[in-house]
Structures are given as C-alpha cells and as structure tokens.
C-alpha cells in the first residue's frame, strides 16, 4: 500500500474549507472539498471510490487523542452532535480527515481545523410564580 502517493492534493484544500455550521439546534455539519486528485496532480482513476475518515481531538498537533467522527464515508460532509461526541462546551477541538481509496491507499491527515465547541442551549427558567402585590 502506498500511502505517500495518496496524500491527495484535495486534502490541502480540506483544511481551508472544512466548515462547521449549525444544521439544527444541536447538530453541526462539517464539510470539505471533495478530493479528486493525487498529490502529484493526477486524477484519481474512475472506478476507485473516494472515501473519508474524519477525526476530532483536543490536541492541536493531532498527535494524540484522535477520536473517529465518521469512518469511510463517501460524502464530503458529516454531521455531529458535540454532546454525543463528548466535546466539552466552550473548548477548542480540532478536526482532521484523511482520504481513503477503495483500493486501500490513504492520504496523510489534513491540517487541523480548529472549532470552538458551542455551548448548548440553556435550561429554561424554573419556579415560575406570579404575585399580586396590591
């Protein structure tokens, strides 16, 4: 397996275009540019399926603590719920991804994409009471 050759050029774009946007109240979408080329600029051959495995970690160097957000997906986006993933509100997490071809070649990890975990919604006020003063 040649991992170097498959350090796809698209992965470079991924770090710049990885976006986390609110898909609903508690679900976010992470997206990136599809990878279509190898690092040498040649096109990925027809018949090879391009997949992505996405990770997150609190380590900005990506050296430790990688947790899988999505594995071998063929779409160029994925959704996640920070609470379900165990992300702590208000902290910075780093996303990264690698491209995996159906033939087994893999890219290196993309540059880390930092994102501050949004705090979730507040709990509602409690003990509602109305008092007539006069």
């Amino acid at each position: 397996m040649t991992s170097v050759r498959c350090a796809l050029s698209g992965v470079v774009l991924l770090s710049a275009l990885l976006l986390a946007s609110v898909a609903s109240a508690e679900t976010y979408q992470l997206s990136w540019d599809p990878v279509t080329q190898y690092t040498d600029g040649s096109a990925i051959e027809d018949g090879k399926t391009v997949m992505y495995t996405v990770y997150w970690t609190t380590d900005s160097t990506l050296a430790s603590g990688l947790k899988t957000l999505a594995s071998s997906i063929t779409t160029s986006s994925t959704t996640f719920d920070p609470a379900v993933e165990g992300m702590t509100s208000g902290t910075v997490v780093y996303f990264t991804a690698k491209t995996v071809l159906s033939t087994g070649e893999e890219s290196v990890l993309s540059d880390p994409y930092p994102w501050t975990v949004s705090k979730t919604k507040p709990n509602p006020p409690g003990k509602m009471r109305i008092k007539k003063i006069k």
């Binding site: 705090k119 979730t120 919604k121 507040p122 709990n123 409690g126 509602m128 109305i130 007539k132």
Partner: protein
Amino acid sequence: MKKPRNATILTALLAAASLALSGCGGGGSVDFASSPDWSEAVYNLSWDPPDSFVDGTPLIPTSDLDHYEIYLRKDPNFSDEDVEVAQVAAAAQKLSVQDFALDNLLHLTNGTGSYYVAVRAVGVNGMKSEFSDPAEWSL
C-alpha cells in the same frame, strides 16, 4: 440577601403580541372603555434563572445569558410558533434579573380571566431555552 432589581423592558413587541393572542383565541383587540381599573393591581412575575446548559455545563446567568423572552397566551400550550411579547435583559448592573412587572402586559389582556405566561432564557450565543413551565395569571 439582596433583592434583584426589577426587570427592565427592552422591547415590548406589542404588534406581535396582538397577533399571537389573536391566533390563540385570546382576542386581539382590547376594549379600553370597558376595561377594569388596573391602577391598584401590581402583578409581578418572577422565576429562578437556569444554572446549567442542557449538556450539564454550569451556567452563570449574568454572563452566559443575554436576555429572557416573555410569552403570553390564553392557554398554556406554548410553542415555537409563539412570539415573545417582551424581552428582559438577563442582568442589570451585574445583578441577575429574574422578575418582570406583568402590569406592562395588561393592555394585551381583556382585564379578566386567566392568561398564561412563560419565559425562555436566551444565551449570549443566541441559543434559546425551552419554555419554562407556564404560570397562570388570573386577572
């Protein structure tokens, strides 16, 4: 223990309130000529501010909340379709605001019967809480 300051009304969305009430059977118009004398009554709504986010993260009302939204209906069935009738800053002079003078909403009522009031907390990140349990306001 210090008593919190009375709420400061930031916005009274009167038109929206009329619309909301008319949409839930409350009647949008008020006949002021037949309204009772409200000058003596002072109704105060109060609540306990939330102390956590839904994920369990601790919440400090004076710094994590931006404001509260006040909702009024003729029934207790609040939903996302409802429009707030007033907004109250979550903090004033670094003190938590947790009450509101309902007299500010009397003109949205018919002056008699029961109404229901609910409050939503809005975080500085813009995220709204669910509705509080409704409080019955008997006029």
